[in-house]
């Protein structure tokens, strides 16, 4: 038997079926090692008070039509380059501008856009995956003015737009800036 594996009696000790006194002398040291492993289990209570109001708020804003599927919480990392295109504006002073947002994220399962124009709602504006190369796009018509935004990958990773200017968001991350 490999010395990397615990002796079966020590496993029974770990299971709580034996006490250390039940072990033969030559296994006592291994038994102590096993018990010290168990002693390192973190039983610290975890407190998440914000979950209550967040759950109730999420339920309150829910529409009848349910979002299909759970957020697939795969933690792919959004890759590289994002291209932000600003199409030519009409001659008259516009009040809205159409903007296309693009993010290259081949490993993502879901990409959305959150910003000042949609109340930072990570579920409001989904990007659509085009083709098989991992390019995600969305086209929005936004009012003239200043906007800040970020992409949300797989429902939890906030990614600023690599192709756009960025400012400190006050929370240790960066927001992308769109000035129309």
């Amino acid at each position: 038997m490999s010395d990397r594996e615990f002796h079966p009696l020590v496993k029974q000790l770990l299971d709580g079926d034996l006490t250390i006194a039940d072990l033969p002398a030559e296994l006592r040291a291994e038994g102590e090692e096993a018990l010290s492993l168990l002693a390192a289990v973190d039983r610290t209570p975890v407190s998440v008070p914000a979950v209550t109001w967040r759950v109730m708020a999420a339920l309150a804003s829910r529409r009848r039509r349910m979002r299909t599927g759970l957020l697939t919480a795969a933690l792919a990392i959004a890759a590289a380059l994002a291209i932000w295109l600003l199409p030519a504006r009409p001659v008259a002073a516009p009040s809205v501008v159409t903007v296309r947002f693009v993010l290259v994220a081949p490993d993502a399962h879901e990409v959305s856009l959150a910003g000042t124009f949609n109340q930072w709602d990570a579920h409001a504006t989904q990007l659509v995956r085009t083709g098989t190369t991992g390019v995600w796009t969305a086209t929005l018509t936004l009012p003239v003015g200043q906007h800040q935004y970020a992409f949300v990958v797989d429902g939890q990773r906030w990614v600023s737009d690599p192709g756009a200017p960025a400012v400190d968001d006050g929370f240790g991350r960066r927001n992308s800036v769109l000035t129309l």
Binding site: A34, D42, P45, V51, T52, A73
Partner: protein, 181 residues
Amino acid sequence: MRPGAEPKDGEIVRSVLAGERERYALLVERYRDRYARYAARMLGSADAAEDAVQDAFVRAFDQLAQCKEPDNFVGWFFLILRNRCFAERRRSRSVAPLEAADSVAAADRTDGGAESAERRRALQLALLELTPDQREVFVLKHMDGLSYEQIATQLSTSVASLKMRMHRAYDRLREQLRDHK
């Protein structure tokens, strides 16, 4: 607290299904911390745990009509949370595992302070190296203190297969902790 003053889980579920949505908050309050702890051990991060618990409660609400035994809401909810945790791939190692922030000083700890915090962190990292099944049985038995029989009922499996998973977990943990000393 007066005995009988707290409504039972089944009562709350039935009233929510009858239209009193606000009462769902009672269930969330009741179980969020306990399950955050399970999720934290399974996912290795407090933030991920908070997200998982929140998502699970929302999903449970959406499917509440399918809860066959309202009196066992917590067992049914646990499976939803469990699915949510299993679906999440393990975060990269660069995410710091849980610190025992306001640590409860356990009476059976013999070392103090920094050393035992280091060992807790080492074990949490080693736990993340296990398969989710192995990690789960270890967490349920040795953190939540459930018996094999209780775990078997909850997960609809046999005690024998749980022990097999657990014993493999013990060996892998030993290996991980030795390799990283």
